[in-house]
Every structure is written in structure tokens, then in C-alpha cells.
Amino acid sequence: MAKVLMKGNEAVGKAAIQAGCKFFAGYPITPQNEVPEYLSRELPLAGGTFIQSESEVAAINMLYGAGGSGARCMTSSSSPGIALKQEGIGYCVFGEIPCVINSVARGGPALGTIQPSQQDYNQATRGGANGDYHIPVLAPASIQEAVNFIKEAFEIADVYRTPVIVLEDGLIGQMMEPVDFDVPVKKREHTPKSEWAMGYGNGNPHLIEGIVMDAPMCEKKNRRFFKEKYEVIEKEEVRYEEYMMDDAEYAFVAYGSSSRICKTAIKTLREKGIKIGLIRPQTLWPFPQVPFQNKNIKLFIDIEMNMGQMVPDVALAVNDKNKVKFFGRCGGMIPSPEEVVEATEKIIGGAK
């Protein structure tokens, strides 16, 4: 199909509808406002429910009920709003609610700035709910990828009965790019909602569980999640892109918007004779391991729009923290390709 020019946030809304989203709740916050604005108009036309909730807290707890009732559902927010959702995300994890959380990050902490940032890497991958848990985090680097990932997120959420986060930054949300909405996304098999969701019990009660009677049962449930969900997700759902890595001696590690800046920097650096490529995690959890086993790489240079939140994950994957270097800007500042080139030359000491 022909590509259409669309703003990232609106494209996310359209992708959700295409994916069969039937319930959306959210609270206004820049830089993601076009998501609820688009869905307030379009979702009801597609037979879905749009609610502007009283808060982000209410929105995620609405998903807990709608998703728990078997509706494909999504919420969208930005940094402080995602912070507020954390307790509810924990309930969605424990209650095994398939749902999608679109997170368009801005500079922080606090109100921070409305400019794009990647300062919510830890918020997304570590989370702020209590307890032991993981949530798959997809990190698109273009609007096309955001559209594909939103659709995939709904599938992953259904397969593992888990919340899935799509982590963007304000750049992806706000810019316009041509998008093909017909890129096929594989429909995946999953337990039908009639077997577990509220409203389908018919006297054989379906319970969405937030508390268990005692510690041994709680431990058992935790262990089941790790074995049946997280171990499988770590095996099956890792995604990454390798760019110009065939002959590379150095590797940038970057996701989302900063990976695009790296691609531009790579061109300049290669012209200067530096053999550098890019490892781009598309899933931040599970974090890719395989591309970091590359023994030809002398240094892995992590480029982020934050103070280095991904560095520990890279160091663990490389298994040698001396080989991991970092350059980043934060608080809503976007590094220029020239800055990245300069920082890289400094890091590798001008070595070829």
C-alpha cells in the first residue's frame, strides 16, 4: 500500500485501532497529546471506548478492568504520567492483564522539560511498581517502526498475558514520516479470553488476582511468572538491528532517536577511516545479548539522551565493563551528529 505522511503520535493511535484496540484511557500530557486526541475521534468510530480519565492513576486502573474483561486496551502518557501509573502496572502484571502502555518520554525528573529524552530507560526497564517482575519494552526508532511495534505489542501482551511498554521519545511522537500501515504483523496464538477474563466465568468464577492468601502461594506465583513468562520472553522476543557491523572494530549502542543520530555519525566516522557500526536494541527488555559477543569490537560506545542508564545492561552483555564507554546529553537536549563524532574520536583516541 501507498505510504501516508503522518505524525508519530497519530500513527500510534491509528496502529492501535488497526490492531483491534477496543478501550483507551489516558490523561493529557505533552508530548503525546495527539494520541488521545486522535483516539477520542477515531476509536468510537471503530466500535471502541475512549475515556479521558481523571488522572494517569485512573487510566491504568481502567485498563486493569477493561483488559481484565478481555478487551484489547491501551493507555498513553509521558514521563511523570508513567511514574503515576506504576502501582497500577504492578496490578496488571500480577493480575496477568494484556495491555499496551505507550510511553513518550520527555526530560526529567519532575516536570523536567517537554523536550524529547531517553531519561525513562530505567523507568521502563526496571519499573517503579513493587515486587519482582519484568515488562517487555519495545523501542522504535521511526514512525514506521512505532506503528509495527504497537501492533506487535498487542500480540505479545496477549501471548504472555502481560503489560507491554512501547517506549518512544518526544521526537518520534512529534515528527512526521511516511508510514505504510499495511506491513503485516503476525497474529499469534494465545489463550482465549473466554478461559480467564471477567465476564466469561458463568458461575465458574474468573478472578483477576491482586493478592494471594499466603507467602508460599505468592512465591509460587512469582516463580511461575519467571519460568513461564520471563524465561520464554528472553528466548523468543529479543529484537535488535545491526548496522554496518560486518567489518566493525567499534560499535555504537543506541536505541530510538539516538540510534538515528549514530547512523549519521557513522557515515562521517567511516569517511575518516574509523570502522564503526551500530547495535540497536529494539527490545530494551529483554535486552539483546548475542550482538555483544562480537570479539572484533574493541569498544562499545553507548550513546543515549540521558546520563547513561543503559550502560549497566551493555556492560553485562559485553561482560567487560572496560570495553563500554558512554556519551550522552540529557534533560531534553538532543546530541548532534557532530557532537557524537567528536565524542567518539576522543573516546577512541583518534585510533583507527
Binding site: 477496543k22 478501550f23 484511557a25 471506548t49 475515556i51 480519565s53 481523571e54 488522572s55 492513576v57 485512573a58 487510566a59 486502573n61 481502567m62 485498563l63 486493569y64 478492568g65 477493561a66 483488559g67 481484565g68 474483561s69 478481555g70 478487551a71 486496551c73 502501582e87 497500577g88 496490578y91 493480575g95 471477567m198 465476564g199 466469561y200 466465568g201 458463568n202 458461575g203 468464577p205 474468573h206 478472578l207 483477576i208 488476582e209 491482586g210 493478592i211 492468601m213
Partner: protein, 249 residues
């Protein structure tokens, strides 16, 4: 032929309630189950449990159910009812849950006119966590966090939920009842039934506040606690219908 005069409602499981003697929770559970049975909705109801002493509600009802986050049941019920508009959806919430941490959620669900029913248990105290002050704790009433008695100057004033919510346009039915006497229990049942009926007719949000007891944290016997409901709680929280759109109220 023997006739059955009294039996457990079909909506309740065989599990024994864990509530303290003289606690209102058990009475109200039974009333809900009786009303739902009588309306033929035993297999068509979803109940949202609060965080509070009634958190184990899913053990006691045969309905589909969910353990909501503290205070958020009205948001969760919104998601459920919008997905299943033809199911009967009930939230069951204490005064800490509904009138403190969950105040935003209850007000906005009521204002939106969400078509579910809230049963609100006002026992003037935080039961589950061991007797701390609730937004509904009466002036002068002792709690573990107002040990010389609630002083409105220091601890603020109690909140009357029915009066507050009745100012909104969204609610279809709001009544305050009590369970301190057989007559009041019968009245309470009629109110719950009416609220569920209004839900079924898709008229809007409905809420029944039940002035209840917590003998354990009030430091009273079961009997004395019921007397306290009559002598102290009801005068501060007057019983009656606060909103009834069918009656133009």
C-alpha cells in the same frame, strides 16, 4: 413437605467469612447476594474488591471478580462496565478506600454517570490496618492516629460522601442506610436492590452508603458497637435518599 424459610443465597460460596463478630461486612455481603439472586443475575455479575478488610470478597461470592488497587475500584469498574455493558458491576469499598485515597476515582466515576453500583461501607475507621483515623472518623472518636480523639482543628473534619456526590449530575441513585437493627437491615437491602435496578435500567451511577461497625477497632463489644452506630454515627451521617432521578431528586 418442609418449606425452606431461610438459606444461604446462591451468590455466596461455602467459605466462612473471616470478619470479626459484630462486623457489618458479613451482613452487607449477604444483602448483596440476596439482591443479585432475586434479580436473576447470579451468573451475570462482576464484583470489584477493595483494599481493606473486604479484600477477600472473591472468596465469598460466586461472581467473576477482581482485587482492585487501594481506592481505584471505580476506575477499574469503569473499564469492566464499558467492556461488559450488560453485566451487573459492583464495587464494594470501605471509607479509607473510597473517601480518602480513592476520592478522585469515585467522584469522577459518579460524575461520568458510569453505570455500576458502589456499596460503600462507612465504619468510621481503617479496619484492616488496625484502627487508624479514616476521613469518616467522627469528631472526638479515638483512633490509633488520633489517640485523644479526632480534633477537627488538628485532624480536619469528616466527609459526608452521599451529600457530596449528590451535588453531581451523573448519579442516578444515592442512599445512606445502616445495618444496626433488623429494620435498618431490611431498608438497606431495599436500597441495594434499587441501586442495582437503576444500574440494570442503565440510568447512571448508583451508590449505597452503609453506616456500619468495626467493634474490633472501636474497642467495643459487638452489641455496644451497634449501639454506637445508632447513638453517634447515624446522627452525624443521616440516613435517607440523597439522589433519585426517577423521583426528580
Amino acid at each position: 413437605m418442609p418449606t425452606t424459610l431461610f438459606k444461604k443465597p446462591n451468590g455466596l460460596t461455602d467459605k466462612k467469612f473471616h470478619y470479626c463478630p459484630g462486623c457489618g461486612h458479613g451482613i452487607v455481603h449477604r444483602l448483596i447476594a440476596e439482591c443479585v439472586d432475586e434479580m436473576g443475575d447470579t451468573n451475570n455479575t462482576i464484583i470489584c474488591a477493595p483494599v481493606g478488610c473486604a479484600v477477600f470478597i472473591p472468596n465469598y461470592f460466586v461472581y467473576d471478580s477482581i482485587h482492585c488497587a487501594h481506592g481505584r475500584a471505580p476506575a477499574t469498574a469503569t473499564g469492566i462496565k464499558r467492556t461488559h455493558p450488560d453485566k451487573t458491576v459492583i464495587t464494594y469499598q470501605g471509607d479509607g478506600d473510597l473517601a480518602s485515597i480513592g476520592m478522585a476515582e469515585i467522584i469522577h466515576a459518579a460524575a461520568r454517570g458510569e453505570k455500576f453500583t458502589t456499596v460503600f461501607i462507612n465504619n468510621g475507621i481503617y479496619g484492616m490496618t488496625g484502627g487508624q483515623m479514616a476521613p469518616t472518623t467522627l469528631p472526638g472518636m479515638k483512633s490509633t492516629t488520633s489517640q485523644s480523639g479526632r480534633d477537627p482543628k488538628l485532624n480536619g473534619n469528616p466527609i459526608r460522601i452521599c451529600e457530596l456526590l449528590a451535588t453531581l449530575t451523573g448519579p442516578a441513585y444515592i442512599e445512606r442506610v445502616a445495618v444496626d437493627s433488623p429494620a435498618h437491615v431490611i431498608r438497606a437491602k431495599a436500597a441495594i436492590k434499587k441501586a442495582l435496578q437503576y444500574q440494570k435500567e442503565k440510568l447512571g451511577f448508583s451508590l449505597v452508603e452503609v453506616v456500619s461497625s468495626c467493634p474490633t477497632n472501636w474497642g467495643k463489644t459487638a452489641v455496644k458497637a451497634m449501639e454506637f452506630v445508632k447513638t453517634d454515627m447515624i446522627p452525624y451521617y443521616p440516613l435517607g435518599v440523597y439522589k433519585d432521578i426517577k423521583e426528580g431528586k
